[in-house]
C-alpha cells in the first residue's frame, strides 16, 4: 500500500487548516497531517514527525514563514516548503521564495494545492535520489580501481604459471619489447635478441609464413585477433605458438601500440592433429563401410547412422535421428533378448535376428554390437548390421530346390514302380543298369535278379538276332518306337513285348520302355488304378457321399464329409434308421423307398432337414442339395442308393435373413407417417411407401406407380419447382422445405419436404423424397408467434398508456404550480388575481377529469367476466338515438341501419352500448357542416364472427398518417372541435375486452369507416 504523505501544516486559524485538509481529501490524496503554530512545536515536529512537506501560513503570532525556512536551513533539512498566503503580496512572496520556499498558494485559490503538493514532493524525492547516486558511483569507482590493481598482479602471476609471454610493439618508435617468457618460448637469450620484431618473424616456419603474413595483414583492421603458427627454434626443433594480438589506437584511429601474448600450444596442437587423423580414419570407415553402422546413446536415441545403414533400413539420416533403437529391433524375435543380455554382460555381442525397416517390413540381419565411451566420455553403443536376408533366402531356396529335386526323384521312382510298363536302362554291352519294378509282374523276375545281367539272356532265342540288329540301329542314333519281340518269363512262358528305345550318347546308356503286349497285366493294373482313383475321389470330394445297400439301407460307404454332416462315426454296416432315427418322420425313408422301387434318381435343392448332429439329441436345421442315385448289380436290379448331399445351409440362412430384413424395413416404411419416394437417376419412381401413395391420392387424386416419371405426377407449377430441386439434389445438395397445402381431405396441412441424394461410391444415383406432416407443430409455432406479437402489442399499448396518463396528469399539475407561484406575489391587482384563480380552477377540473377517465379505462381493463346477454343491434341503436335525439335533430344527423344478415349477438350489453354510443357521437361530432351528415351501421356474418360497420360522410382524417394514432388515449386530430381523445381509446379497449378487434379507414373530407369484428 502507498504510504500517506506526511504533511506538517503551520497554521493558527483552524478553519484555514480544515479547508486545506478538505481540499486534499477532495482530490483523493492520501495523507497524514500535523497542524502546529509555535516554533517549539515546529522544531519538535521536524525531528520527530519527519514531514515529507511543509505547508506554511505566512504569519502567525508565534511564528512566520521566513523564520520557519531559517530553522529548516539551520537543521540542514531539505523538505519541500509551500507558502499559503491569504493575500497576494508579491514582495512577501518573493522574499519567502528567495529564502527557499518551493511554491506558494493563495488561500482563496486552494484548488491548485493538491497539484503543487504532489509536484513539490516528487521534485524533492528526485533530488535526494540523485545525490545518493553520486556518492554510490564514487565509492564504486574506488573499489573498482582497487580490484583492478589486485587483478593485474594476479594476472601476471597466472601468465607466468601458464607460460604466457607478453610483448609490445610501439608503432611510433618501432621498439619491440618482450618479457622473459617470450624469449624462453622462442629458445633465445636476451642477449641474442636485437629488439626488432623481424627477429621473431624470421623464426616462423617457412610453410606457415605466408598464412602468418596474411592473417597479420587481415588482423590489422580488427581490434583483437588470434593467430596460431609454427616456429623453428635455434636447436631446429619445431614448436606451435598461439598469439593473441591487440591493437591500441590513438584518437585519430591509427594504431599506435600493438600488444600481444604468446603461448606454446605444441602439445595441444599435436593432440588435435592426432585426433583429427583418427577421426578421419574413423569417418572414412563409417562412411564407406558395406555394413550398416548405427550409433546410439543409452536412452536408445540414434545419434548417427552411416549410408549403408540408411540403405539397409530404407531410412534417411533425418529419419534415423527421430527414431530410437527400439524402432529398429523386432521385440517379438526371441533371439533378441539373449543377444542384449550378452552385450550388457560382456559389453559386446554378435547375433542374428530380425530387424525392422522404416516401412514396417522386417529383414534378417547379422548384428554385432559394442558399448564404448566416446571422446567426451559419454557412453554410446554401436550396432554393426549386415543384411543377411538374401543369404537366408538363398539357403531356403537351396533347401526348397533340393526338396523339389527329392520330390521329383521320388516321383520318378513312383512312376518307375507304378508304371505298367518296364522301364530300364542298358549299358553299352547290353547289361541292365536299372529296371522298374514292373518287371516282377511281367517277367516274374525282381529288378535285383536282372541288374547287371545281359538282356539277351532273356530274349526268346528266335528273336535274339533281330533284337541285336535293332540294338545296333538304335545305338547308331535311330530311336525306335515300336519293336516287338518275345521274352522268356521266369516260369519259362514266353511273353510278347513291345519296345521303344533310344541311345543316350553322353550317358552311354540305352533307355528302353517295354510293354506287355498281352494286355492282361495292363487291365489288372488299370483296374487297380481306377479303384484307387475312385477311392480318392470319394474321400476327397467336397460333397457328402454315402452308399446305402439293400432295402434296409445299411451304410456301405460314407466319406468324411458325410460323417461330419451327420455328426456320427462308425456307421458302416448299420441301417439308416439306427444311425439317423430322426429322418424317418421327416419323410426321407419314403423318398428312398421310391428311389429303390422305381430306380429313378431323386434330386432336391435346398431341402430342409433336421439332424441331431451336435453329439446330443438336439435337432439342428440344415438345408441340403440332395441326389439319391440308385446303383444296380450285374442283373440290373437296384442294389443300393448313393447319397450325394451338399450343405447349403449358410447360403439359405443368409438369404432368408436378407429377406426378413427387407420385409422388416418394408413394414417400417409402410407403417411410418412419413411418406417416402425413391427416384432413380432418370427421375423415375423406383419405390414408394403406403403413406406416399395416400398423400398423392389426397393431393392429386392419382396413384403412384413404379417406373413413372416423377414430375409428371405433379401439377404444372409444382413440376417446374420439383425439377429444379431434384437437379440441385443431383449436384449433392440436401433440400428441405416446408410446404403449405390449403386443403388436403378438406383440412389445411403443412408438410416438411426433404430431398436427399442417394449416393453410391460418391455418385448420386438417385433421390429420396420424404414428406412429413408437421401441421400440428406448425400450427403451434404460428400460434406461438401470434401470442408473442400480441404480447408485444400489449406491452406497447401499456407503455403508451403510461406515457399519456403521466403527461396528462402532469399538465394540469404544472399549470396549478405555475399559477399558484404567481398568486404568491403580494402586489397583485385583483383582476390578475382572479385571472389566475380561474386558471387554477380550470386546471383542477382538468385534473379531476383525467382521474375520472383513468378510472373508466381501468374499470374496463380490470373487469374480465361480465354477464353476457343477447343484445339486438336495432334496439341498442334506437336507445342511443332516443337519448341524444336533441343533438341529432339539431345537426340534421341521419342514422341508417341494416342488421338483416345478423340481428344481434350474445355480449356484455354495457360494452356494446358504449361502443355504439361512442362511435355515433364521434360521427356526430366530426361531421361536415356543408353537407347532410349520414352514418350507416351494418352487420355482417363472416365465418364464426360478426362484423359491425360504422360508415359516415364526416370530416375524416388522413388515415395514412394517423392510423396508428387514432385509437390512442388523448390523441386528437381536430383543434376546433371539443374532444378529449378518450372515446376511441375506450371503444378499442372494450372491443378487445370482448375478444374482437377494430379497424379504421378514412379520407380527409370524405368520411370514416370503423369495422368491428367480434
Amino acid at each position: 500500500m502507498k504510504k500517506p504523505y506526511k504533511i506538517l501544516h503551520l497554521e493558527d486559524v483552524q478553519t484555514d487548516s480544515e479547508q486545506v485538509a478538505f481540499e486534499l481529501k477532495k482530490n483523493n490524496i492520501y495523507f497524514e497531517i500535523l497542524v502546529i503554530d509555535s516554533l517549539v512545536a515546529y522544531e519538535d515536529a521536524l525531528d520527530n514527525f519527519k514531514p515529507a512537506i511543509i505547508l506554511c501560513s505566512h504569519s502567525m503570532p508565534a511564528l512566520n514563514s521566513i523564520k520557519a525556512l531559517e530553522v529548516l536551513k539551520e537543521k540542514k533539512l531539505e523538505i519541500p516548503f509551500i507558502l499559503i498566503t491569504s493575500i497576494l503580496n508579491e514582495e512577501i512572496v518573493m522574499s519567502v521564495i528567495k529564502k527557499g520556499a518551493d511554491d506558494y498558494i493563495i488561500k482563496d485559490r486552494l484548488m491548485r494545492l493538491p497539484f503543487a503538493l504532489v509536484n513539490s514532493i516528487e521534485k524533492a524525492t528526485h533530488k535526494k535520489d540523485r545525490k545518493k547516486m553520486d556518492v554510490a558511483a564514487f565509492e564504486k569507482e574506488v573499489s573498482i580501481k582497487k580490484d583492478l590493481k589486485m587483478l593485474s598482479e594476479k594476472l601476471k602471476l597466472a601468465s607466468k604459471i601458464v607460460g604466457l609471454g607478453v610483448w609490445e610493439y610501439n608503432v611510433a618508435d618501432g621498439i619491440f619489447t618482450v618479457d622473459d617468457t617470450i624469449l624462453q618460448l622462442n629458445g633465445v637469450t636476451r642477449n641474442a635478441f636485437n629488439g626488432s620484431q623481424l627477429f621473431f618473424i624470421k623464426m616462423v616456419h617457412p610453410d606457415d609464413l605466408e598464412t602468418f603474413k596474411k592473417e597479420v595483414a587481415e588482423g590489422a583492421t580488427k581490434e583483437i585477433y588470434i593467430i596460431t603458427f609454427r616456429i623453428i627454434l635455434p636447436d631446429k626443433s619445431i614448436r606451435w605458438l598461439k598469439s593473441v594480438v591487440k591493437h591500441q589506437r590513438n584518437k585519430g584511429g591509427q594504431i599506435d601500440r600493438i600488444i600481444g601474448t604468446s603461448q606454446d600450444v605444441t602439445e595441444h596442437k599435436l593432440r588435435e592433429l592426432a585426433i583429427k587423423e583418427s577421426d578421419e580414419k574413423y569417418r572414412s570407415f563409417f562412411e564407406n563401410s558395406m555394413d550398416g553402422i548405427v550409433l546410439t546413446i543409452p536412452n536408445g536415441t540414434v545419434v548417427a547412422a552411416n549410408p549403408a545403414a540408411q540403405v539397409i533400413f530404407k531410412m534417411s539420416e533425418k529419419e534415423f535421428c527421430t527414431c530410437t533403437r527400439y524402432d529398429l529391433f523386432d521385440y517379438h524375435d526371441q533371439r533378441l533378448q539373449p543377444f542384449l543380455d550378452e552385450r550388457n554382460k560382456n559389453g559386446r555381442a554378435t547375433g542374428e535376428f530380425r530387424l525392422l525397416r522404416h516401412d514396417g517390413t522386417s529383414f534378417e540381419a547379422g548384428v554385432s554390437s559394442a558399448i564404448f565411451s566416446d571422446a567426451n566420455g559419454y557412453q554410446q553403443s554401436s550396432l554393426i548390421i549386415r543384411d543377411i536376408s538374401t543369404r537366408i533366402q538363398a539357403q531356403q531356396l537351396i533347401l526348397q530346390t533340393s526338396t523339389a529335386l527329392q520330390n521329383a526323384l521320388e516321383d520318378v521312382k513312383k512312376i518307375l514302380s507304378s508304371s505298367l510298363d518296364i522301364i530300364c536302362t542298358l549299358n553299352d554291352s547290353g547289361n541292365f543298369v536299372t529296371i522298374s519294378s514292373a518287371c516282377k509282374q511281367i517277367w516274374q523276375y525282381s529288378p535285383l535278379e536282372l541288374v547287371e545281367k545281359n538282356y539277351l539272356n532273356f530274349v526268346h532265342p528266335d528273336d535274339v538276332e533281330k533284337t541285336i540288329q535293332m540294338k545296333d540301329s538304335v545305338k547308331n542314333g535311330n530311336p525306335v518306337t515300336i519293336f516287338q519281340n518275345r521274352v522268356i518269363r521266369k516260369d519259362g512262358e514266353e511273353v510278347p513285348m513291345l519296345w521303344s528305345a533310344r541311345w543316350d550318347q553322353s550317358a552311354e546308356l540305352m533307355y528302353c520302355i517295354a510293354k506287355d503286349a498281352t494286355d492282361k497285366v495292363r487291365f489288372e493294373k488299370a483296374f487297380e488304378y481306377e479303384r484307387q482313383r475312385f477311392k480318392e475321389m470319394f474321400h476327397q470330394a467336397p460333397s457328402s457321399i454315402a452308399a446305402l445297400k439293400g432295402k434296409d439301407y445299411r451304410f456301405e460307404l460314407a466319406n468324411n464329409n458325410y460323417l461330419q454332416l451327420i455328426g456320427k462315426t462308425n456307421i458302416i454296416g448299420k441301417t439308416l434308421k439306427e444311425v439317423l432315427p430322426e429322418v424317418e418322420a421327416q419323410g426321407f425313408i419314403k423318398i428312398l423307398d421310391a428311389v429303390f422301387e422305381t430306380g429313378n434318381v431323386y434330386q432336391a435343392n435346398e431341402m430342409h432337414i433336421q439332424l441331431a448332429n451336435g453329439g446330443n439329441d438336439l435337432l439342428s436345421d440344415l438345408y441340403l442339395n440332395f441326389i439319391f442315385q440308385p446303383y444296380r448289380n450285374q442283373n440290373c436290379d437296384v442294389e443300393g442308393i448313393f447319397i450325394f448331399a451338399n450343405d447349403v445351409s449358410e447360403r439359405v440362412m443368409a438369404r432368408r435373413k436378407a429377406l426378413t430384413e427387407t420385409a422388416n424395413l418394408q413394414s417400417i416404411l409402410n407403417n411410418t407417417d412419413i411418406s417416402y419416394i425413391l427416384l432413380d437417376k432418370h427421375i423415375k419412381i423406383v419405390a414408394f411407401n403406403r403413406k406416399a401413395n395416400e398423400n398423392m391420392l389426397a393431393v392429386y387424386g392419382t396413384n403412384l406407380e413404379n417406373g413413372q416419371y416423377y414430375p409428371d405426377r405433379l401439377d404444372n407449377e409444382t413440376k417446374q419447382e420439383a425439377k429444379g430441386s431434384i437437379q440441385k439434389v443431383f449436384a449433392g445438395e440436401i433440400i428441405s422445405s416446408e410446404v403449405y397445402f390449403p386443403s388436403i381431405n378438406g383440412q389445411p396441412r403443412w408438410y416438411l419436404y426433404k430431398m436427399n441424394p442417394i449416393s453410391i461410391e460418391n455418385n448420386v444415383s438417385g433421390v429420396c423424397i420424404s414428406a412429413e406432416d408437421i401441421t400440428t407443430k406448425k400450427e403451434a409455432e404460428i400460434e406461438r408467434e401470434q401470442i408473442t406479437s400480441d404480447l408485444l402489442q400489449r406491452n406497447n399499448d401499456l407503455e403508451q398508456f403510461n406515457y399519456i396518463v403521466s403527461h396528462n396528469l402532469r399538465a394540469p399539475v404544472a399549470n396549478i404550480s405555475g399559477a399558484v407561484s404567481i398568486l404568491n406575489n403580494k402586489d397583485l391587482d385583483s383582476q390578475t388575481k382572479e385571472l389566475f384563480w380561474n386558471a387554477v380552477s380550470i386546471s383542477v377540473n382538468r385534473l379531476d377529469n383525467v382521474i375520472q377517465d383513468l378510472n373508466t379505462i381501468l374499470e374496463i381493463k380490470t373487469t374480465q367476466h361480465q354477464q353476457k346477454e343477447y343484445v339486438q343491434f336495432i334496439k341498442l341503436t334506437q336507445n342511443i338515438k332516443d337519448s341524444i335525439a336533441k343533438s341529432l335533430d339539431e345537426a340534421g344527423f341521419t342514422i341508417l341501419t341494416s342488421f338483416d344478415e345478423i340481428e344481434g349477438i350474445d355480449t356484455v350489453k354495457g360494452y356494446l352500448y358504449s361502443i355504439f354510443y361512442n362511435l355515433i357521437i364521434n360521427s356526430l361530432k366530426y361531421r361536415r357542416h356543408n353537407i347532410a351528415p349520414v352514418l350507416s351501421i351494418t352487420s355482417r356474418k363472416i365465418g364464426n364472427s360478426v362484423q359491425i360497420i360504422f360508415s359516415d360522410n364526416g370530416l375524416g382524417f388522413n388515415a395514412e398518417k394517423k392510423k396508428d394514432q387514432v385509437f390512442k388515449l388523448y390523441k386528437r386530430f381536430h383543434n376546433n372541435i371539443e374532444g378529449k381523445g378518450i372515446g376511441l381509446f375506450i371503444v378499442k379497449t372494450q372491443v378487445e375486452t370482448l375478444g374482437g378487434h377494430i379497424e379504421v379507414i378514412s379520407r380527409e373530407q370524405e368520411g370514416t369507416t370503423f369495422t368491428i369484428t367480434i
Binding site: R810, G818, A819, S821, I842, R972, N975, G979
Partner: protein, 142 residues
C-alpha cells in the same frame, strides 16, 4: 442587453400561455411576446414575419398538441426556413416527465434545450444564459 427580442409560445393549453405571458411580461417587459394555441397559425405567422425578422426570436414549443405535434412543427419550420437557426432558437416545452422526450430534445440539433412546465423566472434566466453563451462563444460543433 438581452440576446433576443421576441418570445413565441406555441401550446394548445390556454392556461399555459396565460402563465407564460404573465411571467415574461413582468420580468422581460421589453421583449415582444406572442402566444399561439394552434400550431398551423403559428407557422403561418412565423413565415409572414420572417422578412422583418432582424430580431432574434425564442420559440417555446409544446410537444403534445392535437393537430401537429411539437416535432412536426419543428419539421415544418426546418423545411420552410432552411436556415431558421440563425434567427430562431427553439426550446421544447412540455409537462412530460417521460425520459424519451428529454432525450429526443437533446439529440435534435434544431433544439436548444428542453424546458419543463411551468415556466418560472429561474427557467427564463436559464434561457437567457443559454442564449448569451450562444452569442458570445463561437460554435465549435456544427
Amino acid at each position: 442587453m438581452l440576446p433576443f427580442k421576441k418570445i413565441i409560445i406555441i401550446d394548445d393549453d390556454k392556461t399555459v400561455n396565460l402563465i407564460c405571458s404573465y411571467i415574461i411580461k413582468k420580468h422581460l417587459p421589453d421583449v415582444l411576446f406572442e402566444a399561439f394555441t394552434n400550431p398551423e397559425e403559428a407557422l403561418k405567422s412565423i413565415k409572414q414575419g420572417i422578412h422583418n425578422a432582424a430580431v432574434t426570436t425564442v420559440i417555446l414549443l409544446d410537444i403534445n398538441m392535437p393537430t401537429l405535434t411539437g416535432w412536426e412543427v419543428l419539421e415544418h419550420l426546418r423545411k420552410m426556413l432552411p436556415n431558421f437557426n440563425e434567427h430562431f432558437s427553439v426550446y421544447m416545452f412540455s409537462s412530460s416527465i417521460y425520459y424519451r422526450d428529454r432525450e429526443q430534445s437533446q439529440a435534435n440539433p434544431l433544439v436548444t434545450d428542453f424546458i419543463d412546465k411551468p415556466l418560472t423566472i429561474d427557467k427564463l434566466d436559464r434561457i437567457i444564459d443559454a442564449e448569451n453563451s450562444k452569442r458570445t462563444a463561437p460554435t465549435i460543433a456544427t
